[in-house]
Each structure stands twice: as C-alpha cells, then as structure tokens.
C-alpha cells in the first residue's frame, strides 16, 4: 500500500505542483509513484499500460484542485485516478487481452500441456499462475484483490478508492478469493 506521509506535506506539494513547481512535482512523484505503478501493472498485466497510467496519474495531479481531503487521503486519491485510467485502458484494449477463460489463451494452454506439469507445481510457476488468475478475474473482483491483498489496503480505504460500500468490498473480496482458489485447484488438477 502507499505510504502515508503527513497530509500537510502532501497538501503543500500539491499546492506547489499546481503552481508549476518542478521540484515539488519530483518530490511528489518519488514519494508515490511506486505503488501507483504496481497497481496499474497488477490491474492490467501490461507494462506499457502501467507506464502510461503512472505518467497520466501524476499529470492529473497538476489539476489538484480536484483533490478533496474530506474524501480520503492523497494516496487514496491517486489510487482512484489510477483505477479510472486503468479501467479505461482495459476497455480500450479489451478485444486484445488474454483471459483465463479463453481456451486459446497462453495461460490455459500452458496448464493443459503435460510437459509443463512439473514446472507448474514449482513455487515460481505457482506465483505466475496466480498472477494470471488475478488478471483473469473480472475487473470489479480484480481491483479488490489488488487493493486489499496485494497492496494491503483496509476495506474502508478500498471502498473510498472504488467508490462503493465497505460491505461491497468485503463481499467482492470473498467472491474473488473463491474464484482464485477455484482456478488454482483447477490448475493443480490439470497438473496431476
């Protein structure tokens, strides 16, 4: 999850950034870009999308008048922008994304291939399998897994980023984990 530097520091940086201060922009970027990039990468599975989204998030910060402290922390504000941008990119590229349920996808093909069975059971392969399973989740489930499980965000903060009730986060996360376990079991069955 994004670190939480003091609100006042972020507020001051945002004020300076909106005035065109380059040093403030770099300080703000260095402070927050890592989690934003990882979030975009974990949501999209594509480095080019993650890079584009990261850049656009920090340029959106130039219009920081949009930031309302009452609606959440600065990190949550950044995640919110990143989320919207990622979802827009995913919509744009939907026809080209490789999905788990696609029988022709690279992921399914590799699991079904008996020659790779031993490797699939190894730790690294298991992690990669899980990564693909996360990417194959519907975006509404994927984002709660990324925020709550990969970025260790609490339910309340995640609800603020996504713009839904805490109960929705809880139920989506429960459902998403069930889907992931199901897919992981399926991959193990294929391996056996």
């Amino acid at each position: 999850m994004l670190e939480s530097p003091s609100h006042s520091e972020d507020d001051e940086l945002l004020r300076l950034i909106s005035a065109g201060n380059e040093g403030a922009f770099l300080a703000f970027y260095n402070r927050h870009h890592g989690p934003v990039y990882r979030f975009a990468l974990q949501m999209s599975g594509k480095t080019e999308i993650a890079e584009e989204v990261t850049q656009d998030v920090f340029l959106a910060v130039m219009r920081s008048a949009r930031y309302d402290r009452n609606r959440g922390s600065v990190p949550a504000f950044l995640y919110g922008i990143a989320r919207n941008l990622v979802l827009r990119c995913l919509d744009r590229e939907r026809p080209y994304l490789t999905l788990l349920d696609d029988p022709e996808s690279e992921y399914t093909g590799r699991i079904a291939d008996p020659r790779d069975l031993e490797h699939e059971l190894s730790r690294n392969e298991r992690i990669e399998t899980l990564r693909k399973a996360v990417l194959a989740l519907p975006p509404a489930y994927r984002e709660v897994v990324v925020l709550c499980d990969l970025h260790e965000m609490d339910y309340l903060a995640a609800a603020g980023v996504i713009g839904c009730a805490v109960g929705t986060i809880r139920s989506r996360l429960h459902r998403a984990r069930a889907l992931l376990m199901e897919k992981m079991r399926a991959s193990e069955r294929c391996a056996v």
Partner: protein, 162 residues
C-alpha cells in the same frame, strides 16, 4: 479461514513481493517533460482570462466615456461645421443649422472640421446663461441638451433636446 485460503493469501503476498517496486526511470523522465510542457502552457493560458476581462472593461469604458459622433445635417459621417454656420442669421433666430445655439466663448475658436455631439443634463438656468431661450425658465428640473464640440474638444454650441 481454511487451509486453501491461507495458502492463497500466502501466494498473494509472494506475488505482491515479486512485483517491481518502482516504475522505470523513463516514466519519470517522460512525466517531467510533460509536466514542464503543461506548466509552460498553463502560464501562457493564465494571462488569457485577465486579458479578456481587461479587454471587456476597456471596451465598456470606451463605450460610456467617449462621446458618440453623431451626424449633423442628417448625414451619417460627422460633418464639418464652420463657425459661420453656427452664427445667428437673424436677431430672432439665434438657432443655427442643426438647432445649435452658438456659445459666446466659441468666438475666435478655429473653424470646426469634425463635429462631435454629446448629450448632457444641465440646469435650465445654465442654458439661459448660454443664451438659449427656454420657455419654462423657472423649472428646477434639469433638461437634456446636446453640446456641439469641435475637433479640439471645445464647445461651440448647445441645443435643447427636451
């Protein structure tokens, strides 16, 4: 939480650890370049609203402060009116062409090349002092009058509107 879920959470943590912690340096450079470009653009754009407001204010000021040039003798363009033209032609008819009474202090001024008329409100007694015959001489109400100005901005004549 069952064993499968615990295993899943462990794998998810491993997945989180495996992902890069930072964006490539090129992203930072590109962002910075774009930031500079947009900052410069914002600085340029910042002048536009102020310039727009200033232009509107100036236009409004000019509209209200600069006297309108009105045609005399029914022509569209300002007409040159000579001092002779606004001299009374008879004792009974001090009123000149265009209905302007010549002002005594206008004598000796250069001839009018470009006439400008401004409409003003003035007390009746001021008109009388200018030599304009006013029927309601005792009225305390101000009356509307046109002042004829020459190209030098000096008054040459006065005309009663009301």
């Amino acid at each position: 939480m069952n064993q499968n879920e615990q295993e899943l959470l462990k794998d998810l943590r491993a997945l989180a650890d495996a992902d890069p912690r930072e964006a490539p340096a090129a992203v930072r450079e590109r962002s910075l370049v774009e930031f500079r470009r947009r900052s410069a653009q914002q600085r340029r754009m910042a002048w536009l609203p102020a310039a727009g407001v200033g232009a509107i204010a100036a236009a409004t000021l000019i509209f209200f402060l600069v006297p309108k040039q009105v045609p005399t003798h029914g022509t569209d363009a300002p007409t040159a009116i000579s001092n002779a033209a606004i001299q009374p032609s008879s004792a009974n008819a001090d009123e000149t062409d265009g209905g302007f009474y010549p002002l005594p202090e206008a004598e000796g001024l250069p001839p009018i090349e470009t006439a400008t008329v401004i409409r003003v409100q003035m007390p009746v007694e001021s008109l009388q002092l200018m030599g304009v015959a006013v029927s309601d001489a005792g009225s305390a109400e101000p009356v509307q009058a046109d002042i004829l100005l020459g190209q030098d901005g000096l008054a040459r004549g006065v005309r009663l509107v009301q």
